[in-house]
Amino acid sequence: MSVLVYTESDKGNFKKNAFEAVSYAYEVAQQLGDTVTALAINASDCSVLGQYGANKVKHVSNEQLTNFNAKAYANAIAEAAISENAKTIIISSSADSKFLSGILAAKLNAGYVPNVVAAPVSTSPLVVKRTAFSNKGFAHTEITSETRIIGVSNNSFGVVEHGVQVDVEDFAVQVNDKDFGAKSVEVDKVVGKATIADADVVVSAGRGLKGPENWGMIEELADVLGAATACSKPVSDLGWRPHGEHVGQTGKPVASNLYIAIGISGAIQHLAGVSASKTKVVINTDPEAPFFKAADYGVVGDAFEVVPQLIEKLKEFKAQNA
């Protein structure tokens, strides 16, 4: 039997979460004694998935699937699962994968566990560790259904190289007009900039910045680090920054390698959403700010002095380590 993994791509190129999902699928397959089959839709170089452990890639090449469509993509994954007789399906935690997850679960009558952060705790029964209570805790969840779907949390298991011999085959799927009852008409996306979902580094700022006019230095810092920019909730509520930058319990979750919080107090709802980041740095004038209890490194100081220095020093560092 095989473990099926859905690998996301954007304009033909695999996303980083695709490699992480395949790495995870490989681990699950090892534990179950199965092989790994990846499903890719309109991707350009499928053989690269072998590097992360895919034994086989089913490649769907279909013009109607050029844009992501949750129903049609869920159908394609379901068809692949049925044709492979796969009972374990791995997806990522991107907005797209989360969009299609419920549809896929209903179609396959499968138990679905999202936000999984580690290799299975056991395979018989299948128990996985996931975040719960918006990162304030973890649950060990047993999937009791015959078919099961695991959603791997971004940047949690990591990308692991295996170098497996991979076969790529074409896979034709049925696309129905009625899958397009919800149709994309426009995509408005920042290009050439890291997104909060997949950035290694996220630079985030809060009300301590005092006004939207002061974000120039935050963007510059993000630029130097190749980072995505984020903000606390009040900052987006005040309209200083777009809603899409709001991180925390009611915003986007962050699971980056490095999270830099500038002028953010560290309210429980904020910390819940960012705690999965590996290294956290706080810059705040108030040594009593709760964020200092959650951070790895802290600078007690005025953002308007510390951030420009940090930008200069990082530029020097980058020049030396280029």
Partner: protein, 248 residues
């Protein structure tokens, strides 16, 4: 237009999370329960449709009698009727099946759920309902306009937004953005009085299997103390981030 808003009864966002019974249960001791924030945005949008477009708004939850204050609050905010499906919400699939069952017979044009509940973060309820009822579906919805049976929705994607043209009957997974923060309503006295007279139907659950079970909970490992770096010594911060944390 008939709208059903699905409401999850969750611990208030400021709650400290603890576990009990050998870390197998969430400890509700001292925890205050509220309308799931993602659902509250949806409910508030539904109130807009009610006031501006004459929609009827029902709310539904899956839960025991202890969840009634939360749905009463939704009635006090302005929903017309409430339905409580009397069962423990054991997993997302089970909850979605219960809600779909209720929705099937209710003739709803629009079903609004949250993109996820902030307790178990399952995120599957709206997608499963939409699929079981064969309705259109938009997740992480941050804007929704309806004209006749046409709907224009904006959903949040990684790194931006996508505008989607769709039509009723429709299910959305809502979140912040659907309405402004300042549009959220605190029930007033009149609303609370009126809510007491509104119908709260209690219906029995239909048979449905559960697919997953939480067998154990853990709290995040305690963190070591923060390392403070002097504001005049940013070189040290960079060195720590590079050599120790290997983060840059």
């Amino acid at each position: 237009m008939k709208i059903l808003v699905c409401i999850s009864n969750v611990p208030d966002t400021t709650s400290k999370i603890n576990f009990t019974e050998g870390d197998t249960k969430f400890d509700t001791n001292g925890v205050q329960f509220v309308i799931n924030p993602n659902d509250e945005f949806g409910l508030t949008r539904a109130m807009w449709f009610k006031e501006k477009q004459g929609a009827t708004v029902h709310v539904a939850t899956v839960g025991g009698a202890q969840t009634e204050p939360t749905i009463r609050k939704a009635l006090a905010i302005g929903a017309d009727e409430a339905i409580r499906i009397n069962a423990e919400p054991t997993d997302g699939f089970f909850v979605a099946r219960q809600l779909a069952e209720v929705a099937k017979n209710g003739g709803y044009d629009l079903i609004i759920a949250g993109r996820e509940s902030i307790d178990y973060n399952g995120g599957m309820v709206p997608g499963i309902i939409a699929t079981l009822l064969d309705m259109n579906f938009v997740n992480t919805c941050v804007s929704l306009e309806i004209e006749g049976t046409d709907a224009k929705a904006v959903r949040e994607i990684d790194g931006g937004n996508e505008t989607i043209a769709t039509s009723l009957p429709l299910v959305i997974g809502g979140q912040k953005g659907l309405v402004e923060e300042s549009d959220l309503r605190i029930p007033n006295m009149r609303g609370i009085m009126m809510a007491r007279k509104k119908a709260l139907h209690v219906v029995e659950a239909t048979d449905a299997p559960t697919m997953t079970a939480d067998v154990k909970f853990e709290k995040p490992a305690a963190k070591g103390p923060v390392k403070l770096v002097d504001a005049g010594n940013i070189d040290e911060l960079i060195s720590l981030l590079h050599n120790e944390a290997k983060a840059i």
